[in-house]
Every structure is written in C-alpha cells, then in structure tokens.
Amino acid sequence: MSNKEKLKKMLVEELNIEDLDPNSIVDDAPLFGDGLGLDSLDAVELVVLIQKNFGIEIKDIEEARAAFESVNSLVAFIEKRLQG
C-alpha cells in the first residue's frame, strides 16, 4: 500500500468520516473546511495519527499549515520526513 493509500484509509477510518470511500478523496482538495470538511479537533487527532502511523512528529504550526493543505501536501511532507 502506498503512503497515499495508507493516509486516505487512515483519514476515513480514524477520523470517522462515515460512508466515504478512501479512493474517492480528491488528492488536492482542502482537508479542512471545504473539501474533506475536517475540523480543528480532527487536526489534533491527525497530528497524533501521523506520529503513530508514520513515526513523524509535527514540530510547529508553520510546518503543519503547509502539510495540512491537502492529501498531496501531507503525503509530500510525510515522504520528505521519511527520507530523512
């Protein structure tokens, strides 16, 4: 499973986005507000999930802001950190 697929599955299952097929998540749609419709508490959980599932700690808000724009930006952030 690619990191993108793993991430989408995680978003749907762990953030309780009911009745959504992970494959239907648009890669460049906003995660928060319009788009996937996540909220501020989902952001809290997302930080935890990224640490738990990918072993990556988000260090500061600016880093999170850039990463949390969309699935694409989050995957790019994760893969960059995994490469060290």
Binding site: E14, N16, A43, V44, E45, I61
Partner: protein, 313 residues
C-alpha cells in the same frame, strides 16, 4: 473548539452572548471611581447599580435565575430576587477588582494560591500543563499569580465586537503577561495549543461554556440537568499527555481571592476522535464545578440557560 473568557457577558434571551453588559460610559465611570477613590468607592456605587438592574431590568435578572433556580430549587420569588441581587453584586465586585488590578497594580488584591507544590510537580513532568477553569470568581486576576511557575502562559480567549469592558492587562496599557490564542485563528488555535504544551508551557482554557459547533461538545450532568461543554481540552491532553489542573478562583473578602487547585484530571493517550471517549473527563471537571457552587454559589457567572443551549441529548 472555542470557549470565551468574558464573564461580563450580555446573555440575550436564554442563549449566551459574549457582548458586555452596560454601556461604555458606565464602564468608564467605574474606572474613574477606582482611580479617584479606589475599590471601596466603586463597590459603594455597585450596590446602587446592581439595585437598578434588579428593579428596572427584569431581563437581566432573569438571566441569573436559570442557574439560581437549579442551585436553590424550591426558593420563593423573594428569595430568588435577593439571590439574584447578591450574584449581581458579586459579579460587579469581581469586575471592579479586575479593573483595579490593571489600574492600581497587582497589589490592589491579595491572592492565596492553594496547591502550589502540586502545580510545580505537574510542570516538572515536562508535558506542559493545561489549566482548566470556569466563569467563577475572578480567574483573570488569579492567573496573574501563576508567575511563580516561571513559564509562559497562553490563554484561549475570544474577544467579541461590543466588548467594552477591559481585561486587567489592557488598563495599564501594557502588553499582556499572557499570550492570547484566538480560537478564530488557524484551525481554531488547536495546533497552537498543542505546540504550547510541546514546549512544556502552560495553556489555560475554559471548561464550562460552549462557543461554535456542537460537534466540539459533550453532554454532562450539572445541577440536576444536562448541559453541553467543550471537550477539546481533554482531547488535547490525550494527544500530548499533558496533565490538566482544575483551577478555580473565589473572592474571599474585601481584598482577597483564593486560587484553588481543585483537582487534577489525567486523560489517557490514544483515545481517538470520538467525543464519547472524553465524556468521563468533562464530567469529572463539571462535578468539581458543581462542588464549587455548593461553597460559593454567588460566584458562578454563567448568566444564561446552560440547560437549554442547543440539543442536550
């Protein structure tokens, strides 16, 4: 994710609003009294101002009765009227004290902090510290005493248009000793709050009042009925493993306040996204708050129908 820190709010109808009670000139009148005659002069005027509201503003009086009827069930109309007056007086004195600290300096009131050693222990855990409080006493002034922890403190606070009463740090024209996190900021300030705790610093939030979406709330039992309260603090505690210190302030007399460490709430990690996971911890806080209303019934400043705010299921 939002909660407001304005105890001097105008509660239109039975719903809460953070808009201040009273006109700007009325607030300035009291600020002038404090400057010229100290707190005693302002207190003296309060008795008449509170009486005005009791006699000529039944809409304002009604707003305290939502809580008073539950706290003092079975009270006669006269008894409720008296209790409403006492509650208005207490609120007025708290606002005077808050302004006095800003105008006259921190020595204007004395604050007895109970639980200092325990607070130090919690900070030494190195996970940051969440201080959860409520609209009771004068939390803002009491928070000034937390300097003994030698850590930056951050308050989740929303200021609304129409707020004419000043916070104590605005009177002296100085920058706040606290850093304010605006819940209208990026992602409701949630990531900012986590970053604060990650640095081992202090985060202060209100646990008794909702703003924003009901999605961010849980339903708990309070004074014989159900209310909705935010659960974000408990979720952030679970995510960061930061301990939660319940700090409640009460006015103990003419010059004094007590800031009490009324409890420590530990939220296990990995509780996930479902709000039901955080219900026990929200209930633990509200139980402590209910015990507070037993001891200091007239210093609980939620002037709206908490039991009829949105859907309490």
């Amino acid at each position: 994710m939002t909660s407001s820190n304005n105890e001097n709010a105008d509660h239109r109808g039975s719903q809460w609003s953070s808009r201040s009670v009273g006109m700007l000139w009325q607030h300035r009148f009291f600020y002038l009294l404090i400057r010229l005659g100290g707190r005693r002069a302002a207190y003296f005027a309060l008795y008449f101002v509170a009486l005005y509201y009791m006699l000529l503003r039944p809409d304002q009086r009604k707003k305290s009765e939502y809580y008073l009827r539950r706290r003092f069930s079975g009270s006669s109309r006269l008894s409720l009227w008296t209790k409403s007056y006492l509650m208005s007086l207490e609120l007025g004195k708290v606002l005077v004290d808050r302004a006095a600290v800003g105008i006259l300096g921190a020595d204007a009131v004395t604050i007895d902090v109970q639980g200092k050693d325990r607070l130090h222990e919690l900070v030494r855990e190195g996970k940051g510290l969440i201080l959860i409080t409520a609209h009771v006493g004068c939390w803002q002034v009491a928070m000034t005493t937390l300097k003994f922890l030698n850590l930056p403190a951050h308050l989740l606070m929303q200021r609304e248009e129409g707020d004419v009463d000043r916070h104590f740090f605005e009177h002296a024209g100085e920058n706040s000793s606290f850093r304010i996190i605006d819940p209208r900021g990026y992602l409701g300030g949630s990531l900012e709050m986590m970053a604060v705790l990650k640095k081992g610093e202090i985060l202060s939030v209100m646990g008794d009042r909702m703003l924003g979406s009901e999605k961010s709330s849980v339903t708990v039992q309070f004074l014989g009925g159900k209310i909705r309260v935010p659960y974000s603090a408990y979720m952030i505690a679970s995510a960061t493993k930061a301990p939660i210190a319940v700090l409640l302030s009460r006015r103990t007399g003419l010059s004094g306040y007590q800031l009490e460490l009324a409890g420590v709430i530990r939220v296990p990690g990995d509780l996930g996204r479902k709000n039901s996971a955080y219900l026990p911890y929200a209930q633990e806080f509200i139980k402590i708050l209910e015990e507070y209303t037993e001891r200091s019934p007239f210093q609980f400043f939620n002037f709206y129908d908490m039991w009829n705010s949105g859907s309490n299921d």
